[in-house]
């Protein structure tokens, strides 16, 4: 079967010493930022992106991907031990994980979270390997009009499925697109919105936007609240779970993996929604839902499996269609573009080493993570004791050095300050920044495809309804928007995000 020969190619790339090293580095950094609150995978990837310029593209992507799924593992540690989720995807784990820790079962919770994550990561990776080629086959036949419609659908779905107020999220996407258009126009080479600054004619750097809106703005928000951290216990026992616990958690892991795999593929879905949805499902199917919130192992096993499965499958839309489904994938996309790889169906055929190498590395990375997270848990726990007041100046400094090294100019640092202020204001006004980021990266491509589609149709906009696939996707997008504004469903949507 093709799948196995592909995976064999992938593993031969992934196990090369240099790639293994970058995979290890990526997942270690990922675990670290997952554990530490106040810095997320998007900001970390943006910070490290400049140092990947010199690397081989495969190694660069392997490392960046490792940060993402590594953070899913790390996120559970803080959630269980401190009721302090390092990542939004681990928020739901605090409910039962922390309760288990208070009852002296922190070891069980941590090990089940790690084992569930590994199992789900394996499932997610296999699904990615199996389904990506099929989707890519469909996508190669896409023309400009289809791509335009697909991007619209992806963006709309991302907004509808995100948690913030709808109108604001919609405005953020469009605003993000406008910022994405800054720089020389490809067709006419007219400099747009650059105010005569030569630094801007190549466009606003993605790293600047990501670090300003996510890295620095997050720090400003965190500094408003005085920190409180209480470690439940120093002694961790029961890190190797007995069969009874594992048997109890296994069905939840299975359900979580399945649910997470599906939700990960959806635009805007991703890890956070997967973990929340899985918790809701576990509560529904439980014979005794009253245990939830008081240390139910299923409440840890399900969501932790789901978020990791989703982390793997969210690569599917990016690698097959060239559409990033969430902020982290937008980051991955910009990394690919920097290395001159156009994300999309052609990646698989043009650079099979990269495609299959990345997939194989994800499974290896998951294996490394289990080892990193179980026996070495003591080291990570100690890290949780580093106070934020020492941590945040370091993060700001690393952001600045990262910003400078993108183009060896201090201009980008000033520009990031502007985006940080903007991001701080957005946070205050409850405007989500992930839609902005998606709009920012898709804006130029949207314009390009719209132009090409209109040129080919001789200025007739009806192509978008006469081509069946276009019509279908745009219809779906309109339907999603409509559903989101209907009051009853809107209430449901709000409830789903407030579960717990």
């Amino acid at each position: 079967m093709d799948l196995f020969s592909h995976l064999a190619t992938g593993f031969s790339v992934a196990v090369s010493p240099i790639n293994l090293l970058y995979c290890l580095f990526g997942v270690t950094v990922g675990t670290l930022v997952g554990i530490l609150p106040g810095i997320g995978p998007i900001a970390t990837m943006a910070m490290l992106l400049p140092i990947t310029f010199a690397l081989d593209p495969v190694s660069a992507l392997i490392m960046l991907a490792g940060i993402y799924y590594g953070a899913q593992y790390g996120g559970s540690t803080g959630a269980i031990l401190l009721k302090l989720p390092g990542e939004s995807s681990a928020v739901i784990t605090t409910l039962d994980g922390y309760q288990m820790a208070r009852k002296g079962q922190a070891g069980h919770a941590l090990s089940i979270a790690a084992i569930g994550s590994f199992f789900a990561g394996t499932v997610g990776t296999l699904l990615l390997a199996a389904f990506a080629p099929l989707l890519a086959k469909v996508a190669v036949q896409f023309g400009a009009a289809e791509y335009f419609s697909l991007m619209i659908l992806g963006l709309v779905a991302a907004i509808v499925l995100s948690s913030g107020p709808l109108l604001r999220a919609l405005s953020m996407v469009v605003l993000g697109m406008l910022f994405g258009l800054v720089g020389a126009d490809i067709n006419s080479s007219v400099d747009r919105f650059t105010f005569g600054l030569p630094e801007l004619s190549g466009g606003i750097n993605f790293v600047v936007v990501a670090l300003g809106l996510f890295g620095i703005a997050e720090i400003l928000t965190n500094l408003e609240n005085p920190e409180e951290r209480r470690l439940v216990s120093d002694k961790l026992t029961g890190l190797w779970p007995d069969w009874a616990v594992l048997r109890q958690a296994a069905p939840a892991m299975l359900r979580g993996s399945a649910l997470g795999s599906v939700l990960g593929v959806l635009p805007g879905g991703g890890v956070t929604m997967a973990s929340f949805a899985s918790y809701a499902v576990e509560k529904k199917v439980a014979t005794n839902p009253g245990r939830f919130g008081h240390g139910a192992i299923e409440g840890v096993a399900g969501p932790e499996s789901a978020n990791n499965a989703a982390a793997q499958t969210s690569f599917i839309p990016l690698l097959t269609l060239g559409i990033p489904s969430n902020g982290v994938m937008a980051m991955m996309m910009s990394a690919m573009l920097i290395h001159n790889i156009q994300p999309g169906p052609q990646v698989m055929t043009l650079s099979p080493d990269l495609f299959w190498g990345l997939i194989a590395s994800m499974w290896l990375g998951n294996l490394i993570l289990v080892i990193l997270n179980l026996p070495l848990i003591g080291i990570w726990v100690r890290l949780l004791r580093v106070p934020y007041r020492i941590l945040f100046p370091a993060i700001v400094l690393f952001c600045c050095i990262g910003l400078y090294s993108v183009q060896t100019t201090v201009f980008d640092i000033f520009f990031a300050i502007v985006f940080a202020l903007l991001g701080y204001a957005f946070a205050k006004l409850r405007c989500e920044t992930v839609p902005f980021l998606l709009g920012f990266i898709l804006g130029p491509m949207l314009e390009e495809n719209l132009r090409r589609a209109m040129l080919l149709s001789h200025g007739d906009p009806s192509v978008f309804v006469t081509r069946p696939l276009c019509a279908f996707m745009l219809f779906l997008a309109a339907g999603l928007l409509l559903i989101a504004v209907i009051p009853t469903i809107r209430r449901k949507r709000r409830e789903a995000f407030q579960e717990g």
Partner: protein, 153 residues
Amino acid sequence: MMRLLRHPEVLAGLLFIILGSAFLAVSAGYEAGTAREMGPGYFPRLLSIVVIVLGLAQIIHATAKSQGREAAGRLNFHWRPALLVLGGMALFALMLNSLGLILATLALVVAAGLAVPGRRLEIAITAVVLAAFSALVFVKALGVQMPLWPEGF
């Protein structure tokens, strides 16, 4: 009226209208072209108008349900930490090329460190450790091109 101005959705709407208008004003200077052959101004104008309309919609939406679920008046910006952190970054950017990474790092870490109360000695130690770390890791090990010390050293 003042109460309304503190409503997050109204403020967000205003922000979108202002930014959208700015983009619209600038893109008015670019050739729009036709639907068939779009000029550099076509798509930006379209998007700017969408942002402005969405901003207006939010203001109307917020005014319509004046007892909105989002409590007004919770918008307390914490200026001190924001100014210290962003000011520290600006200092870093200003100092880096002429005075070098070491001094720029010290300035940044001290400025940012003042954003949280107390522990002056701890900030100083953190600053020195981070300056040494970034010089060794970023410049020596990773080879990032930046001066370490002031010119002439």
